[in-house]
Amino acid sequence: MSKVEPEVYMINSGYDGCCYVRLHLPCIYNGYKTDKPSLREDKINTKDVKHFLDRADVVVFHRAEEQTYHDLAKMLKANGKKIVMDNDDTFKIEGFHPLAQFMPDGTPQENLQRRERNLNEFMEMCDLVTTSTETLAEEYREHNDNVVVLPNYIDPDDWDEPMRNEGDKVRIGIVGSVSVEYDYLHIKPLLKKLSERNDVELVLFGLQDKKTRKKNPMVSKVFKAEYAFWDSLNKEQFPWVKRYDYNERLNEAKLDLMLIPRRDNYFNRCKSNVKFLEAAMCEIPVIAQSFDNGPYEELEQYKTGVKIRDNSTIINELETKLEDKKLKSTKKKELKKLIEVEQKKVTDKWEEEVDKLINDKKLRREIGKNAREYTIKNYNIEDHYQKWDNAYSSLFKTI
């Protein structure tokens, strides 16, 4: 029996986010055709698309939330093609979350429920669904029995030699979505303190700069509180960049330490470890929040990173109890006190670990180097690209 090697065609939803790791890297290493063959490509050659769609045995759609994708997929399926959807985010977002209204780049979410419904319907017609984490796979299995986890990988070729901060101050960064997804709230006092320290340079890599904000007042309104907080800090800011500039810019930021304070919630349990992988490629040690099924559980304490156990579940339980209107005022006071204690516990732990790394350059360097070695050893796309071929071949009977 020999393995069937189907021709695969991949349809992107853009390269300014996860499409790069989800589609572009597998394309490069497996030789699949795609509608966007390079990061800077902004024009699609429709003749090529038609030609390669005709030839393809398997057509992969990334995050097929629009009706046009549905129509195309139905037509292709009727012509005998196998349909696959890939996605690496959940659309089950709590209402308070800014992403429920806007994407980090300011694109309106429009109707989140409609998009989620479309995705679910699309998955139901698929022959295979692929995703990055087991938590997401479980979510998608409600809509398709054939879900395969294909983790996110990195291409070492995309990364230059890690750049070093030669200055006297320790550069501490918060990068990307962490700065807009309410993940940093519990370390706000710490961020404030860091911004005031003489031996630290706080770096924010994310959010829009003031000029861009003015162009989009609706987004500014939604992120008003966050902008106000970040604006009040003494910091250096690298605004959002295009995907093709991201790796270089992250390296140029010359961070000595990256903070990933994601709290334990469903959205974050769906997250992959890609932020850690990117930091690791620049030899930036990370301090990350730890919780069951969290994205950073694989970090080995003080070897490849630093983990701080999250206590959101306890705080949430206490807050739920507090909502009980029948509670006596003494009990309420008691609960409030307990919440404060728990909140302080995690904030203090963050301060402790950050301080430890600020004061220990040798440890920072060791963790950074180990993290890069670990990432190249375990997450190099060159060693794992066959997983895509295996998943697609499984859709065909062996001959």
Partner: protein
Amino acid sequence: MKIELKNNKLVEILTNRGELFKQINKINEKTKALEKDRTKLGYKMNKLKEKTKAIMDKQDFGLKEFEIVTRVYAEKGKAYYEVENMVEMYKEQIREDIKAKKKK
């Protein structure tokens, strides 16, 4: 139902066809594999083009008005770039068009 057709000429033709079919299939497989390899190389070429662009975008070439960088290349371990004046290029194009018209 399988029935034998006694015709030696037909046996020879069909056997030859079978052989050719196998050979064509082998070539098809090789072509497919080569095309896949070419696609992979194409992607890698795109990546290198993007890396080149990232470096070139950061350079200050001190270009004068109407000047552009038309080529960047490596030669004997050194990198070079070529600058052209767009106005001169346009003039040259017009000259060639006039020449071509005169010939007609």
